[in-house]
Symmetry: C2
Subunit: 491 residues, 2 copies
């Protein structure tokens, strides 16, 4: 640990222990230097770290002050999906969100797009340009069906941070994480089969279930610790579940990371019932903790975890570079990859491999994690200021997505309609459920810099929600609670 | 028609009518100029056209001479696949062909890769490099789920040449033609369904059938006119066929283009039995005729043809830019596209759109068609010289693939094994059949320049085949014909 990191850690501890309280002024740079016998630049760097973590703020010509901690007062409640296998609906709503071409006019507050304007991404564009400029036959041709060895080697190297010891042959490159998830699901299932999922769950995966005629069994999920193992165990006893699909690290949309003992227990449960696990780790590298949390794959000693990921959230979604580590299903997954799109595009793989090998990836991650953590705290503050009391808010442990649970009765599909004239769109919670539950919830993105346009938008969303809560209360028959506006359960 | 094209057409007619015969010297440039009252450059250009078409050759200091026509003496026979629905096998063999990373040591004579070294491709690399250098947010982000409008507009413009009047909204961009075919097939079928295919048929499509639990019904196919409409009609009466999948233009592997009346009749047949057609047109733009032949889609007046294509054979397979015009199945295909890989990579689409818009695509096609036609004739000559009598050879009307039918008893999987020490690989015919028929056939690629290394390889393959024919004859019991070494038919 570097000196300024030690200093920052010491100060952080004092803040957390309450020796410095919210609003207190911290020692001046000069005092700090004298007290701790450090240089001015070390003191400055230590304070900058604390600023990045949104623990303190610098006030011009005054000094450094302890900021209020933005921990949500009300977390979303434990989810209670219909605990039986359901057909997946909601495609129309998903298409609304993902189908449109970009429109600079519209502020997309709900999409899962990272910040693409960071300077730390530039070497990637340079590398792509240089590879294409060469225009050699290699780049225009297919690479190996399983993907470029150079990239697979880098992925394996990075995976040690999440507790996985893999060989490059254990990894196949895919066209984004969506293809990884799609071929994993197709490998394991036949139409009519049941797949257990955490709930709410990424709509892209739900739509794969729909397209393959599968049924989703949504398992109650805790907004801080993830899928309920107790409910999952009961479901495994009751239903013929073919696979478990979860996003246990920096979950989309809830933001939690399952604690390690629960991850271990989840793998053990899958072993006991002899079921495969499809693990979506696409946000995992954006965890706010260092080192990043382990994957389920790290606890997988018999090859039943199919680990799916991509560089779409860490680098660029438009490159479509993803990967899968399919464990014991390697042969079938290779076949599915071939019939899905053949080999993936060559040069983006080589560019990403170069970006990682030269250390740019880890540098970029550090920068993004700082930015996203800061943005999370900023957004939490804005939500607290502008949304009605009783709004539940998730506390993401990584990534750039926030989940809001509004008072029951507020319909977020209608909220989107009411936001349309202001050119703002959120992601309604119903997208994240097979049957359209969570319609009173929504997902927000805090990846991009928190500009005045964003704060205005959040203020506007909050005001609209406040109006809708008031309207719902007027409509409600006294003594009757307002129901969750989910699509009616299927028979 | 330009003056030199008129002159070339006149001379070509005289050659075809026998007024100039093989080995004859044509009029000198000076004589031609005087006779036809044309300029020297026009005469030279006309002769160059005939050279490009492999009709004549220039002998230094002597003049222009009529070349022997390389029309195969024996065409492959009408195919006789098992006329009942079969499960698809052969994945191990396909993986052998497509799964390995490139190896500069090995001469891949069997793969469907175009020539990537043409100077006319350079503007594409330049455009890709320039788009990536900009490194703007747009390029790193998703484009529309259905693909870049700029590219869809160009595709629609080009499609008029094949008789299709489409709107950009009729087209979805895919990750190569493989994804287009895969989502078309998934849209139309459920596991256990039967799909009728021309036979031999592209192995990539056959493996999609396998991956989706479908059965292939291989229809007898004529090496010059394509799928037998008579056999197909009988099959439609007899079996519950869910879709017809064909490659009617510049067929892979047989090289034929179905005559237009037969294409029209095929669409009418599909209408009569209310079956959808999945049309693979990936080689269509490489037809040796101008204008290029019409697609089945051109005759499709009720939206039942799903036209699949890509720029993998015309430009570069490593870009993975394909497309589908799904007719009346647009909504389902859009869903399948989303769950398959999400939006396709952004910048390759923009680069291809620019390449077409600036006229580079048509220039590149002209150059490639000339080269491939010349190479075809060269390869036909070599086959004639080096392969045993009785070898049937296809006569491709476009593209860069040749199909050989060897004397029965020659096993091309074993041929590949025997070619391995010489670092040569061909594509065994059995890959192109659900049950591994056509094992005495093989596919060759003539895209790349016909270098001494290639002629040596062809000579070596021919000699090895000649040996194998002799060995098979020795083994054969007198009076007993040598059976087709197909995998035994399934029960």
């Amino acid at each position: 640990m570097k000196r300024y990191e030690q200093v920052a850690a010491t100060l952080r501890q004092r803040i957390e222990q309450g020796r410095y309280r919210v609003g207190d002024r911290l020692p001046s740079i000069r005092t700090l230097c004298a007290d701790l016998k450090i240089s001015v630049s070390t003191a400055q760097e230590a304070y900058r770290r604390l600023e990045d973590a949104a623990l303190i703020e610098a006030r011009p010509k005054s000094g450094y002050y302890v900021l209020p901690r933005q921990v949500p007062e009300i977390l979303p409640s434990m989810t209670r999906p219909a605990q039986r296998p359901l057909d997946v609906s909601q495609w129309d709503q998903v298409l609304e969100l993902v189908g449109k071409p970009r429109d600079a006019e519209v502020l997309m507050l709900g999409r899962g797009i990272p910040d693409l304007e960071s300077a730390t991404l530039k070497p990637l564009s340079r590398s792509l340009a240089s590879l294409h400029r060469r225009g050699d036959v290699h780049g225009l041709n297919y690479d190996s069906l399983t993907g470029s060895l150079a990239l697979r080697e880098q992925i394996v190297r990075l995976a040690t941070a999440s507790g996985c010891l893999m060989h490059p042959d254990d990894v196949l490159i895919t066209t984004g994480c969506q293809e990884a998830l799609a071929i994993a699901i197709r490998t394991l299932t036949s139409p009519g089969d049941v797949v257990a999922v955490d709930s709410p769950s990424f709509y892209g995966t739900m739509q794969i279930l729909k397209a393959n005629g599968l049924k989703a069994l949504e398992i109650p999920t805790d907004p801080q610790t993830g899928i309920s193992l107790e409910a999952l165990e009961l479901a495994l006893e009751q239903w013929p579940i073919r696979a478990i699909q979860v996003t246990p690290t920096c979950n989309n949309p809830l933001g939690y990371t399952m604690p390690e003992p629960r991850k271990r227990a989840l793998v053990a449960l899958a072993q006991r019932f002899d079921v495969a696990i499809i693990e979506d780790d696409i946000y995992g590298d954006l965890s706010f903790t260092t080192p990043r949390p382990k994957t389920l794959k790290a606890f997988d000693d018999d090859g039943r975890v199919l680990l799916c990921s991509a560089f779409s959230k860490t680098l660029s979604p438009g490159l479509r570079v993803g990967w899968i580590a399919p464990g014991r299903y390697r042969d079938q997954v290779t076949h599915m990859k071939y019939v899905s799109t053949g080999a993936s595009a060559t040069l983006p793989q080589l560019a990403v491999a170069e970006f990682i090998a030269k250390g740019y990836y880890e540098r970029h991650l550090r920068e993004m994690v700082r930015q996203y953590q800061r943005n999370r705290d900023t957004l939490l503050g804005w939500i607290k200021a502008h949304f009605p009391d009783g709004t539940g808010v998730s506390y993401p442990q990584g990534g750039f997505l926030l989940w809001l649970e509004l008072p029951a009765g507020v319909d977020c599909v209608r909220l989107n309609e009411r936001l349309a004239p202001a050119h703002i769109r959120i992601a309604p919670g119903s997208l994240f459920s097979a049957s359209g539950k969570y319609r009173h919830c929504l997902r927000l993105n805090y990846a991009s810099p928190m500009t005045p346009r964003v704060v205005d938008a959040i203020r506007h969303v909050g005001a609209t929600v406040t109006d809708m809560v008031a309207e719902a209360a007027e409509l409600a028959v006294p003594g009757l609670s307002i129901p969750d506006l989910a699509t009616p359960d299927q028979p």
